[in-house]
Amino acid sequence: MLLGINSMSNLFSKIRFRWLYKGKFWSLLVFFLVVYFIRFTKGSVFLDFYSLLTRPLWPGPAQREWLVKANYFEHDIRLQSLEEDNKRLREILALKSSSGTDRISAAVISRSSKGWWHQLELNKGKKDGIEIGDAVIGPGGLLGLIDSTSFFTSRVQLLTSPGSKVGAWVLGAKRHGILIGLGTNRPKLTFFDKDSNAEVGDFVVTSPASTLLPPNLPIGTIKVINNKFLPSPSAIVQLNASPEAIDWVQVLKKL
């Protein structure tokens, strides 16, 4: 009887759990655990390794000069918006100052400005103090926000990406709105008021009332307005900064 039970248990161990004793099962299990770890960390291992590999190919310092020259246009728009903002702040005296930011220059090491995802990969990450939600600007103005970071790299969600939503302010019309990415080159601005009062050519900047982004960063100009759009008017905005051509960006670190 005892012998019978022993032989049965041996038989079960041979039939049922035979795959447990195979090296292939354990190597597959380890492989899938590694793959899941990569997915869980949002590819940070790959991105860090990729940044190390492509280090010799990063854009040279000549791009910085181009960036400085292109910043003049951005400064003109910023000056105009800051003057108007100052007038308002003198009356209200309740908003935060826009000078509490620090800029970190970063090179674009991978870009996908068209397609299903509109994103950039930068060569600076947690090590340099970049955090999720920091604003990213290029020559011309705001490009997007930091979506995720690894130790050496960070990922930017562009303003054109579907799902991107940023508070905006129309300078000429003095109206608030929300800038929504559509997947095209031109995002949509949805006004909060029923009367938009905006005109084609008006400058759009980040909302002075925003607590997430620095105020008055240039975004773009209004190209098309639809005042009959329900429930509130909307406009199509041409962005100042073009992510297809930018090799260097600046991350505005919150202080």
């Binding site: 899938f32 949002k42 991105l47 990729y50 991978s110 397609g115 299903w116 979506d147 799902g163």
Partner: protein, 167 residues
């Protein structure tokens, strides 16, 4: 040695996604690199391995994107179907078939991503007939279908084990 070659080609896919060379793009849209690796793998090794490969490459591809939509559902369907197709029609070698299968596969992946984006963004910022989605869908399918015959055939050759015949 063959497993090592398969693993090396697998590792190249995320780097190709990140590198996305401009000269291999149509109007700024590059090919769907995971499809180019998954197609010959599934045809060669069958549906079970095809699904396992689809899950692996899907997880890797998802880790390199913003994360609002996933490659996984469409990849699993393709891995299974291509695996079955490879087992039923073992003479599926001509390059034209690779191009056609890659084109259809990329269309399916694109439709899956489009549908997910419609759901996740609550129809607020992504329209049914969004011009950019149609553009991406067609451009990606076309470029993937064009380069698939070359790269898939090369991968199949690279994965073959050598047989030495004696006279």
């Amino acid at each position: 040695m063959r497993n090592f070659r398969i693993f090396c080609s697998f590792i190249c896919i995320p780097f190709l996604i990140l590198l996305s060379p401009n000269w291999l793009k149509i109007q700024g849209v590059g090919p769907c690199w995971p499809i180019i690796w998954m197609l010959p793998f599934s045809l060669k090794f069958g549906s079970t391995w095809g699904v396992l490969a689809a899950v692996s490459i899907g997880l890797i591809a998802d880790s390199l994107t913003l994360g609002d939509a996933s490659y996984l559902p469409s990849f699993v369907i393709l891995g299974f179907c291509w695996g079955r197709l490879g087992r039923k029609h073992e003479k599926l070698e001509p390059s034209f078939n690779y191009g056609f299968l890659a084109l259809v596969g990329t269309l399916l992946v694109g439709c899956s991503l489009w549908a997910q984006k419609l759901i996740f963004h609550s129809f607020s910022s992504f329209y049914w007939f969004n011009a950019s989605a149609i553009h991406t869908l067609l451009a990606q399918s076309l470029i993937t279908g064009l380069i698939a015959p070359l790269l898939c055939s090369w991968l199949v050759v690279a994965w073959k084990t050598k047989h030495y015949k004696t006279i």
